[in-house]
Amino acid sequence: MKNKQKNQRGRITLWQDIKANKMLYLMFLPAFVWFGVFRYYPMAGIIVAFKRFNYRAGIFGSPWNGFDNFAYFFKSGKAWLVTKNTILYNLVFLAVYIIGATLVAILLSEVGNKIFRKLTQTILFLPYFVSWVVLASLVYRVFDYDTGIINMIRGFFSLDPLNISTDPKVWRILLPVLYGFKWIGYGSILFLSAIMGLDRSCYEAAEIDGATVFQRIRYITLPLLRPTSITLILLGVGKIMRGDFDMFYQLIGNNGLLMDSTDIIDTLVFRSLMGNSDFGMASSAAFYQSILCFVIIITVNNLVKKVDEDSALF
């Protein structure tokens, strides 16, 4: 890199850096514009959470109303429940995702047959493209009370049929399973590319020394995958307060009987405000989520930094 040139004070200015690395900055430009337009610019709108919004005055012209918009969420009596549900579900999802994806990636990397590997990879990747709407209708067919295959099998073993419309317990298992089904294929590709990038000579050396497949995985692959895993975990933790609204809403919908165990912040807010469509109140929940996410990601990142400085995100 040419950016070793320094100005009089011994420091590189941004402009000098840009001049020195034109190409790199140009490649960074699209991402910069994208984040600017879709991530940073709309941030100013968060003030609507503290306003009594009306269409004519717009976001900036509407009158302030302090913390009024936050009241409904904390008075709903469910603030703690849904916050807890959101965090717990996301933790389970994250664990399923990281462990599942690592496992699949390692298995795939050990498969010798290239065609088989590519085929499996593609098939595993497919659910990523299937929307929750489609998956939801699939789930309801498979679990149909009278005609679903699950209940037919249960009937064969003389077990009571499952009614997923009224039984919240089923969903505590079903939701992580479905999440894994949809995302593990996608995650395994990230891990697989990381594995492919590992130094092959380590493996060759280990093989010569007589290491078994399991020993190679245990002592070479897993330790070398640690930075990738930590990055993905940190990214996951960053959105731990954001429930996967699509998933929960398509699968559970407005079924009151399941709500205490499946309600997350996003669905509670959607349900409460769908009728009166108040943007200020909806934004207050987003604000709450963002603040908590921010605190959590900073804390976790600092913890990681203490243990392993190179793996931290920033």
Binding site: M23, W34, Y72, K75, A136, S165, N254, S272, G275, S277
Partner: protein, 532 residues
């Protein structure tokens, strides 16, 4: 050297392209076409016949009006809109584009559409469809008497003055209401042929359906006796049962607070008190009995196929709707060879509530650039019989014919099933229905029902058109809405273990959510409204 240039150029291009595609999403896609505008101006100049009506209004500028309605576009929509636009170009130098908000998503998209305010001139609205919520947020263009008289002369002339009074929110008007509120009642349809086959007495009210449902469950393994969806049907049989228990109690704005349609006392009662609670318990018990016996589908909350559609496919033995929107259903059922019986869903006194003027209407978006011209277009569509027939029944000769005995029938070879623009299906529910001839497809049962409706079935109440403004109790409303969804909805389908316990929980949760504040606020406004 050459390669380096290529690399550089390629990167620049890529960056530019990506940036452009990102930015394109935010751009305004409206491209005014000058050629088009000029062309139509000429046409407008030629049509002298309408000049008298609109002579003092400047319509030299061509305007594209965009309107939003509920439902889905029928297959024949394009043909109808072409015909409408041909006339509009000539009469008003304008064109109309209709877009649809589907039943499943309209509650979520409606506010966003109005908040964004791009490319929208009018939108369907009603007391059950966002009217007071959006009006209080200034989402609609404020209507004045002068403007209505000038730009909607036919409508102003045809409408009873009361319509203007009842559509006020905070003393201002935002809704162009229908002139002809529907004379209708809620109905449940059942298969008469199956009733006869299994020797079951034909039901005359909701609670008498038990034997019929049992017979279907026992003998027709392919049919779910009552196959309900999560939007319309959820609550339909429950409401019918609740009403037939005693007086008809109406829920103001779906907030769990009821007023008695049979009385003029103007009092609001919460779900958990007095006669409302009794009727709730009665209905919940019957629903639970039906659900436990397997008469009701288990997936009500995730099902979005209305019972009347499932009925026509042989997947449900009961269908819910109202006497107006069931017309085409009855014809289709007949074509399928089903013999259908209709049960009006009435209260104990045999009454149903007359619908208010607010039940169907249009609001003009506050952001509309041409509110006046939009009004002129709406005046034509709602009150000019030629337009009115076109948007409601489709194209004459293709979608409907006028029979010799002055009735509306289907052309030869067209059936209810293959008609690509069925009556009432395109969402123009707010037009002047007095202009329509009776339909040739009405069965004797349906004609009898209509007579019954006209003959004192409908009762009026001052509170019918009362639309409370809940701005001051937003917090409580949000939480009450949420509690009702979680604790009242399962009861309405019969899914709860113990109805008494469920009612007690509902009461506790509603009180904690602040239902009493909401009740007090609404009662206060109702007292003012009734002039107490």
């Amino acid at each position: 050297m050459k390669r380096k240039w290529l690399q550089k150029g390629g990167a620049v291009m890529m960056a530019a392209l990506t940036a452009a595609s990102v930015l394109a999403g935010c751009g305004n896609t409206e491209v005014p076409s000058e050629a088009n505008a000029a062309g139509t101006k000429e046409v407008a100049g030629e049509s002298g016949e309408t000049a008298s009506q609109t002579s003092d209004i400047d319509i030299s500028e061509h305007v594209d009006v965009v309107g939003y309605l509920l439902g889905e576009a029928p297959a024949g929509m394009d043909d109808v809109m072409n015909a409408v636009n041909e006339k509009l170009e000539k009469d008003l130098n304008a064109s109309l584009e209709i877009r649809y908000l589907s039943w499943g998503e309209y509650t979520a998209k409606y506010p966003l559409l109005l908040a964004a305010g791009d490319d929208i001139d009018f939108i369907f609205t009603a007391d059950w469809c966002m009217y007071s919520q959006e009006a209080t947020k200034n989402a609609f263009y404020e209507l004045t008497e002068d403007e209505l008289k000038t730009y909607m002369p036919l409508h102003w002339q045809n409408c009873a003055p009361i319509a203007w009074d009842v559509s006020k929110v905070n003393g201002k008007n935002y809704m162009i209401t229908t002139c002809t509120p529907d004379r209708r009642c809620d109905v449940a349809a059942y298969r008469k042929d199956l009733c006869d086959k299994y020797n079951v007495t034909a039901p005359t009210k909701m609670s008498e359906f038990t034997d019929y449902l049992a017979a279907i469950k026992e003998n027709e393994s392919d049919i779910v006796p009552m196959n309900m969806d999560s939007q319309y049907d959820l609550g339909s049989p429950f409401g019918a049962l609740r009403n037939e228990y005693g007086d008809r109690y109406e829920d103001a704005n779906h907030l769990g607070i009821f007023w008695n349609a049979e009385s003029d006392d103007g009092q609001f009662t919460p779900i958990y008190e007095g006669a409302v609670r009794e009727s709730y318990k009665y209905a919940a018990d019957i629903m639970k009995q039906w659900y436990d016996a397997g008469y009701i589908n288990k997936d009500v909350f995730s099902n979005d196929v209305r019972s009347k559609d499932a009925f026509l496919e042989g997947k449900s033995a009961v269908a819910f709707g109202n006497s107006v929107d069931m017309q085409s259903f009855l014809v289709s059922a007949k074509d399928k060879g089903y013999e259908v019986g209709i049960v009006p869903l009435l209260d104990k006194q045999g009454h149903s509530l007359a619908t208010s003027y607010l039940n169907n209407g249009v609001g003009i978006a506050a952001t509309s650039e041409h509110p006046q011209r939009t009004m002129m277009v709406l005046d034509k569509i709602m009150e000019d019989p030629e337009y009115n027939y076109l948007v409601y029944y489709g194209i004459e000769g293709k979608n409907y014919v006028i029979t010799e005995d002055q009735k509306i029938g289907l052309p030869d070879g067209v059936t209810a099933d293959n008609n690509d623009y069925p009556a009432d299906a395109a969402g123009f529910w707010f037009t002047n229905k007095d202009q329509f001839l009776p339909s040739a497809t009405w069965s004797d049962d349906y004609i009898a029902l209509k007579a019954q409706i006209e003959d004192g079935m409908l009762i009026d109440n001052k509170l019918t058109s009362f639309a409370p403004n809940v701005e001051n109790v937003q917090t409580q409303v949000a939480n009450v809405t949420n509690v009702l969804q979680q604790y009242a909805n399962p009861m309405q389908v019969g899914m709860v273990e113990d109805t008494e316990a469920a009612l007690t929980t509902l009461e506790e949760k509603l009180k904690a959510a602040g239902l009493e504040d909401v009740q007090a606020e609404i009662q206060k406004q109702a007292d003012e409204y009734l002039g107490k």
